[in-house]
């Protein structure tokens, strides 16, 4: 009980403090709801949004884009990172493009992708995948490079095949670093999906933000949508942690 209290109490106090400060700023500045709604108003809109079924279709759309884009981006990034770690040639040839692609803001790239692929699931998933790719590829590369060479020599003395070396030694040894990259990737995937939705389309939490700010002019709804996005990010991050714990327990 006291342990649980010690773990739960500090973040709870901090959260209540955050809400109180927010509300205090609204009261002291006497801001209208269309500039800065207070937390109570946002909470109310959050609840009605769920009750009226406003959020669900948008959330489902965004979630779908993240699922497809994150899976594709991470699946492409892992072998790339491995090859970058193990082939000096690949590192020299590919790294400049990777860094250059990362230096170009996704916000600038998104309209181009919309031009080529439209504003549907495909285009949005591509944007998510692009955002996820870099951090995952780099962390896989660093993690694989960091695998203890002495373990690799030990494995070689037992005549491992390349596949056995990767599956039995390199991946488990690099797992903490790989999962670290996936954690960064999943949070960036949320950002990528929202950015992708801003360029157009009918549904998605990013679209809802635009609607709330524009034609609906419902600023409390805008804040409530931001809350949904934040909760989505936390939930996805948490599920990566769960998968990590499950995998770590099995190897």
């Amino acid at each position: 009980m006291s342990v649980a209290r010690r773990r739960v109490l500090p973040p709870l106090v901090a959260f209540v403090g955050f809400l109180a400060t927010w509300q205090a700023i609204v009261w002291m500045g006497d801001y209208p709801a269309f500039i800065l709604p207070g937390p109570l108003l946002v909470a109310e809109r959050f609840v009605t949004g769920w009750v009226e079924g406003t959020f669900w279709p948008h959330l489902a759309t965004t979630l779908g884009e993240i699922a497809v884009g994150f899976t594709a981006g991470a699946a492409a990034a892992m072998p790339t990172g491995y090859v970058l770690a193990r082939s000096r040639l690949a590192d020299r040839v590919l790294s400049p493009y990777l860094v250059a692609a990362q230096a170009v803001p996704i916000l600038a790239l998104a309209p181009l992708i919309a031009l080529w692929f439209g504003t549907g699931l495909l285009a949005r998933s591509i944007i998510v995948a692009l955002v996820v790719f870099f951090p995952v590829a780099i962390s896989v590369m660093v993690a694989i490079r960091g695998v203890d060479r002495r373990l690799l020599e030990m494995a070689r003395s037992y005549r491992v095949t390349r596949r056995q070396r990767i599956v039995l030694v390199e991946i488990p040894a690099a797992l903490p670093g790989i999962v670290g990259g996936l954690r960064i990737g999943i949070t960036l995937a949320v950002v990528g999906a929202i950015v992708a939705e801003w360029i157009g389309g009918e549904q998605g939490l990013g679209v809802l933000i635009n609607l709330a700010r524009g034609s609906l002019f419902d600023i409390p709804l805008l804040f409530a949508t931001l809350t949904v996005i934040a909760l989505l990010g936390i939930a996805l991050y948490g599920s990566v942690l769960l998968v990590e714990r499950h995998v770590a327990a099995r190897t």
């Binding site: 030990m154 003395s157 037992y158």
Partner: protein, 284 residues
């Protein structure tokens, strides 16, 4: 020498002839082994001693097939070694265990790589754990074991594929002197049970004498066999044998040979070489 006859039973466990090896450093070749000739009888224990950095570990790696010989011959039981070899088990200076695997799964690793069925490899790994006295630690991860237990685990793993030759690269160098003595006795008992040939590298001359049938002294780089000293101490051996006259006499002979190997005429003349050049030699 006709079409691939089965190796003659008389073939020695290991035969090295004119064995050479060199490292490439910045485009220059640095010779490490300069023509090593050595025959090791089956079921014998050989200790390799020599000055630091003379290439003892390199020699073990070449015998294990981890490094390719630049010239000369490496044969295990009459057949040449080309690449990592199941007939040779190598125990490194550090245990090199997979930290995410249990003790049992670490010992089973070579069997898994070789494609044995799960049930068979677990049964075999359990036997091996028993052999090194770790039967009750099957589920434990290496991180929770002591340094000595980890090294025993590494030995068990090296025995998994039933190699006829076991190579040990200063396996007990990280252990304290008392544990080390105990481990040497255990190693001899293990050797009596498994009946394989053992080649071990050590810095401790008493340890070499206590364990080995022959102590082979290597010269400084590029290494060659500088001396081959037979240890005339009956088996089974006990720790008390370390105080026997024959042990100190043999140790003195090896020290003198090491002195020759270091090519320090003054030190040889005054008989001070062992103490100055081999500080580790006072262990045990």
């Amino acid at each position: 020498m006709s079409d691939a006859p089965p190796p003659a039973p008389a073939a020695p466990a290991i035969r090295l002839a004119g064995l050479r090896f060199a490292f490439l450093v910045d485009g220059r070749t640095v010779p490490v082994l300069g023509g090593v000739d050595l025959e090791v009888e089956r079921r014998s224990v050989i200790a390799l001693v020599g000055p630091n950095g003379c290439g003892k570990s390199t020699l073990l790696r070449v015998i294990a097939g981890l490094l390719p010989a630049a010239g000369g011959l490496v044969e295990v039981e009459g057949r040449p070694v080309s690449g990592p070899d199941a007939r040779v088990g190598l125990v490194f200076q550090e245990p090199r265990l997979l930290p995410w695997r249990s003790a049992l799964a670490n010992v089973a690793f070579p069997l898994e790589v070789a494609g044995h069925e799960r049930a068979a490899r677990e049964a075999r790994a359990r036997d091996l754990l028993g052999l090194v006295g770790l039967r009750d630690w099957a589920r434990t991860r290496p991180g929770e074991l002591s340094g000595g237990m980890r090294q025993r685990l590494a030995i068990a793993r090296a025995l998994a594929l039933q190699p006829s030759v076991l190579l040990l690269d200063e396996p007990f160098s990280a252990l304290d002197a008392l544990t080390r003595e105990r481990f040497n006795v255990e190693l001899l008992r293990l050797w009596e049970r498994i009946g394989s040939t053992i080649v071990l590298v050590t810095h401790s001359i008493p340890e070499a004498v206590f364990l080995a049938d022959r102590v082979v002294v290597l010269s400084p780089r590029p290494a060659a066999v500088a001396a081959d000293v037979t240890v005339d101490l009956p088996r089974p051996r006990r720790l008390a044998d370390l105080d026997a006259a024959v042990v100190s006499r043999t140790a003195a002979e090896i020290r003198a040979q090491l002195g020759g190997a270091t090519d320090d005429a003054f030190a040889v003349a005054t008989g001070e070489v062992g103490r100055h050049d081999e500080p580790d030699a006072v262990i045990a």
